[in-house]
């Protein structure tokens, strides 16, 4: 195991609200992580804590073996692209890219120039006057060209059009294949990035509810489809994330289904359909308080 990030019992409270609530996990070198969850689930707070921008209320964070707070040698290895990153009002993209060179030890100016070209980012326009998509492009370019060993992208492509997003995925994949590094991607467009993710962390109301290999996660959930009575009989006592039905037909999304259970379902005349990562996350985080209690 090559853990570059170790988090133990991490909690961040703002008044009575626990934005991050007793979270523990590890990140390994050279993998792509998806940090998924709904708005306000605590994703940004978690990344701010990992990058030393916020102070933890409780718990321990080690990034490259040390606390990231005020530790220049650790911060040198990080790059955090915030969705709501504020830039100096009078800056233009060229100022951002110029100063990035002074801050990131592995900054690749030629790569940045190529990306500017590809994303069609105007270099000499006030940041304030950029469109939302162009603003996101600034962050994406800095995040890619910084080549930081641990890069965080927080909703990096708000407002980016489909081709720009595809460009981002392509460049990211190609570049990390050449220069392996750890990337944490927080996003709502889960289907789009599903193939990119190697490991998934799902956070809901500040708590980490999934910490699993992406492949494994996709394999364990299934939608069971069939006559209502048969579906009900099969899912009784199992972890049902969602139910749906039309007339006599029912669909139940079941979490953690073993091979034997799959065979049993097929034997009972039920059909098994795959559940996409996005559907799974929606099912896992969409529940209201009462549903969770009854589950």
């Amino acid at each position: 195991m090559n853990a570059i990030v170790e988090v133990q019992g991490l909690t961040k409270r703002y008044g009575s609200l626990a934005a991050v609530d007793d979270v523990s996990f590890q990140l390994e070198a050279g993998r792509v992580y998806g940090l998924l969850g709904r708005n306000g689930a605590g994703k940004t707070t978690l990344m701010s804590l990992l990058t030393g921008q916020e102070f933890a209320t409780e718990g321990r964070i080690e990034v490259f073996g040390k606390s990231p707070i005020e530790h220049a040698a650790v911060l040198d290895q990080l790059c955090f692209i915030r969705e709501s990153q504020r830039y100096p009002d009078d800056f233009e993209p060229r100022h951002v890219l110029r100063s990035a060179e002074w801050f990131f030890p592995d900054w690749d100016a030629a790569f940045a120039r190529q990306l500017v070209e590809e994303f069609r980012l105007p270099l000499k326009r006030k940041i304030k006057k950029l469109s939302r998509g162009q603003l996101s492009a600034v962050g994406v370019i800095v995040g890619l060209a910084s080549r930081a060993p641990l890069t965080f992208f927080d909703e990096p492509y708000l407002g980016l059009d489909a081709s720009a997003r595809q460009l981002f995925y392509d460049r990211l994949l190609a570049d990390i294949a050449e220069r392996p590094r750890t990337v944490v991607l927080s996003t709502h467009l889960i289907d789009e990035v599903a193939d990119l993710l190697e490991h998934v962390l799902v956070i809901d109301r500040g708590r980490l509810i999934v910490d699993a290999d992406a492949e494994e996660l996709r394999g364990t959930a299934a939608a069971v489809v069939g006559p209502r009575a048969a579906v009900d009989a099969f899912v009784a006592g199992r972890e049902v994330l969602h139910r749906d039905g039309i007339g006599g037909l029912a669909t139940a999304t079941v979490h953690r289904l073993s091979e034997a259970e799959r065979a049993e379902a097929v034997g009972a005349g039920l059909e098994l359909a795959p559940v996409s990562l996005q559907q799974l996350v929606v099912r896992l985080t969409g529940a209201t308080e009462s549903e969770v209690v009854n589950r």
Binding site: T51, Q85, F91, P105
Partner: protein, 255 residues
């Protein structure tokens, strides 16, 4: 799980000098830090010069009276207020950004401080050069005064640069504290700062007035002279710099 055994050590890459990076960050866009204040300053100077021209054309006693009168000019004060604003803005503009680029708060503060001291020095030198020209041209040909005003004494051009620099540092430090408080506690930080500052000022005045010490204060500064009084500004500068750092040390990038 044993963290020490599994954690990957820090890769051995060269570490950039982040204090220098922050320093340069403040100057990356010269429009705000140089061209704009220079433009405004030039404009103020032009306005003043035109007024002197009008006065000298319409006055009957020649330039004598005006030369005396304009030594009390407040026109040059603009740059001091500008420096205060720049210091406040420097914080608010760049703190989140620099933190996002991985600067530590300590490096950010040192780099910002260095940038502000260097700009104060630059402005003071420019101020001094213009003062020398002003003296040499007998008040820009019209007996006007803007840079060689009475507030900076007549201890020669070098002393004037030194006094101007100290006064600039004072305004910068004031802006630095206000900026740091704003970054840390937003508006509440600023309001609190001005309330405390107000009470300190009123308290000081009350203390002097109630103990009937105006004369003593006057003779205190009189004895010190310009050369002795101006360096006293370094005391509030030092306090402000320290307070600013204490406020910024635990500031976060939340907007």
């Amino acid at each position: 799980m044993n963290a020490a055994a599994t954690a990957v050590a820090l890769p051995a890459t060269g570490h950039p000098n982040r204090v220098l990076a922050v320093f340069k960050l403040h100057f990356v866009n010269p429009v705000t830090v140089a061209w704009m204040p220079l433009g405004i300053y030039g404009f103020i100077f032009l306005m003043n010069w035109l007024i002197w021209l009008i006065v000298s054309l319409s006055a009957s006693d020649g330039g004598e009276g005006m030369s005396r009168g304009t030594t009390w000019s407040g026109a040059s004060m603009f740059i001091f207020v500008w420096l205060l604003v720049i210091a406040v803005q420097a914080m608010n503009r760049t703190f989140h950004f620099a933190l996002g680029f991985g600067a530590t708060r300590r490096d950010y503060y040192l780099g910002t401080l260095a940038a502000l001291v260097v700009s104060a020095a630059g402005w003071a030198i420019l101020f001094g050069i213009l003062g020398v020209i002003e003296d040499a041209t007998d008040g820009w040909g019209l007996g006007g005064h803007m840079f060689a005003s009475v507030y900076f004494g007549d201890d020669g051009p070098f002393a004037r640069v030194w006094y101007v620099f100290l006064l600039m540092l004072f305004f910068t430090a004031l802006g630095l504290v206000a900026g740091a408080l704003f970054v840390r506690w937003r508006t509440f930080g600023l309001i609190g700062f001005f309330i405390v500052l107000g009470f300190l000022l009123i308290g000081g005045i009350a203390w002097i007035a109630l103990t009937d010490s105006w004369a003593a204060v006057g003779s205190f500064f009189g004895t010190l002279g310009f050369a002795g009084s101006y360096p006293l500004l370094l005391i509030p500068v030092a306090i402000g710099t320290l307070l600013g750092y204490l406020a910024l040390r635990r500031a976060t990038a939340r907007s």
